[in-house]
Amino acid sequence: MQFLQTTLIRIFYAIVLLVAVLVLNFSLMHLAPGDVADTISQSMGGADQELLDRIRSDYGLDQPFLVQLGRYIAGVLQFDLGFSFFYNQPVTKLIMERLPATLLLVVTAQLLALFLGVFLGVISARKPNGLTSHFVTFMALFGYAAPVFWTGILLLIGFSLHLHWFPVAGMRDVTISGGFWVHFVDVLRHLILPMITLASIFLALYSRLARATMMEVLGSDYVRTAKSKGLSQRQVVYKHALKNSLSPVITLAGLQFSAVISGAVLVETVFSWPGLGTLAFQSIIARDTPTILGILFFSALVVIVGNLLTDIALRLVDPRLRGRS
């Protein structure tokens, strides 16, 4: 009951935060010099004042700031993020077409990094001076130090260009036809390299942290108690110790959610993954303000939902947090 209550409070805060993000995004964009009218007139090779005024009144840009803000927020509440003149489509539709691809990439990369990171962390914590431990430390440093686009290009050259194991770009092969599973395998084949690339940065973080916390937990009194009960090594490590060392890793994963999304922009660009990242990149180049705003809004949404899920996961793992809001 208390769990539900605190979760609802969290959701309420999340909505307040989202509105704040909306206002801030819009204000910042408004502060920046130039507007849609300028960009349109530029792309037409110049326009006179009359045309500019007409464009501005068409887009409602001649209204006072607060009115524009109010309209924008009212629009967002009805899932209307404005109209992209560059793509000639409603922004909501544009984003909704791209969002699943980004979510697929971000969520799978995050999960891969988490599970593999924790697993490697546990292995190296059990034998801190073993070969695996040194290998994990090396991989972690490498993954963290290497720029993500460079890792991506390297993987592309190795596995796609030379070995032909994976496709070079995109998310699906348009020439393929077949049932659900055929398409599933196709998307998976496209997904693997970008996923590994994106996960590599976070894998480093998570495995280092998991290793450190696991080593600490393995030396704790309750692990000694678990051993004194005659439990097997597996139970001591993967039940008693692991559940206790998960909290810091989950917390970090939650904090990294925004970093994962910004990482996705780079990875999507390298692999031509048809997600929000590619869209963001293109619309920034085209100065497509409504689309940029929309993407910022959705990124904030994903981060906030991610944090909310982190919060819930933490409460599930650690009963001591359940009563607190």
Partner: protein, 328 residues
């Protein structure tokens, strides 16, 4: 009848920065079924190390049994495989730790932590193990055991946690229960309750108890025989009442005079409390061929500095490792 547990010339070495230190140096004792044997001594005298060695839980790569035997039911535990030790741990020999605050796993319910021992050793089903866990909580006098079983450790007081810990240790009706300073972290009234509980449970289960403590009062109340440890060596060994009325080792004498009203009546004018001056020698000095207590001893002579005291056996069963034991 053969004793339940026989420890022969046990030597445990710890690898430290200054080299190898014998934290337990030539320790022998026996434990009979149903008996309470107490280990007494200051911190760092090797009491807890003895307990961990009996459980086969010496710290990995740092501590090891260098020589000697631990014979339990005709089986030498120092030679037993890991798998065999796991069968014994929590089942035949179990342990209660000093810190109930940190010895229970914070993220599992009390009931689960008790039930898992039963599942591991007795092969009980989840439901049966849980039901037995509730019974055990009732046996250690936790009110509303059914409800409390699904509580987490942080929802319980220190005394209740230690009760839960005891329930966990007694779950499989062990033959030996090792209690490593079970009340040190608790306040005085709760200490008395825990000792009462242990006394009652011993009567009911006939488990032998190894009580590690520096509470002389608890020793006098609970134990039949006691071992006084100093710097990894046995200083004195024998029946509790004999040792308390007439200690034969200067260290035991010091420990006893540290405690108010063990020996004096409340009405009588009480003697001053005397402390044992100095501190336990550091690990690197352990194992030298001299009396390690000499630097703190009022009765010290040249002989004490020159060679390690030999055992002196007295007719009442007391054994003291002191050159001057007869004179005390």
């Amino acid at each position: 009848m053969a004793p339940l547990l026989e420890v022969e010339n046990l030597r445990i070495e710890l690898t430290t920065r200054d080299g190898i230190a014998p934290v337990i140096d030539d320790l022998s004792f026996t434990l009979n079924a149903g008996e309470t044997l107490s280990f007494v001594g200051e911190s760092g005298c090797g009491k807890s190390m003895t307990a961990l060695a009996l459980m086969g839980l010496l710290p990995d790569k740092i501590g090891r049994v260098a020589s000697g035997k631990i014979i339990f039911n005709n089986e030498d535990l120092t030679q037993a495989s890991d798998a065999r030790l796991r069968e014994i741990r929590g089942n035949d020999i179990s342990m209660i730790f000093q810190e109930p605050m940190t010895s229970l796993n914070p993220v599992f319910t009390i009931g689960e932590q008790i039930a898992e021992v039963l599942r591991a050793h007795q092969g009980l089903s989840r439901a049966a193990a849980w039901a037995k866990a509730v019974e055990l909580l009732d046996a250690v006098r936790i009110p509303n055991p059914k409800g409390r079983a699904s509580d987490y450790p942080f929802q319980m007081s220190g005394g209740q946690r230690q009760r839960a810990m005891i329930a966990m240790a007694l779950a499989c009706e062990p033959k030996i229960l090792i209690a490593d300073e079970p009340t040190t972290a608790l306040d005085v009234t709760v200490q008395a309750q825990i000792f009462d509980l242990l006394t009652d449970l011993r009567r009911q289960t006939s488990a032998a108890i190894i009580l590690i403590t520096h509470d002389m009062g608890a020793v006098a109340e609970m134990a039949e025989r006691m071992i006084v440890m100093y710097a990894g060596r046995k200083a004195e060994f024998g029946p509790v009442d004999q040792i308390i009325t007439h200690p034969r080792h200067p260290y035991t004498k010091g420990l006893i005079s540290c405690v108010p009203h063990i020996v004096s009546d409340m009405t009588e004018e009480r003697p001053d409390l005397i402390e044992v001056p100095g501190i336990v020698p550091s690990l690197k000095d352990f194992g030298q061929d001299r009396c390690l207590f000499a630097s703190r001893c009022a009765y010290v002579t040249d002989k004490c500095q020159a060679s390690r005291p030999s055992k002196k056996l007295f007719s009442n069963g007391q054994i003291a490792d002191c050159w001057h034991a007869e004179d005390l």
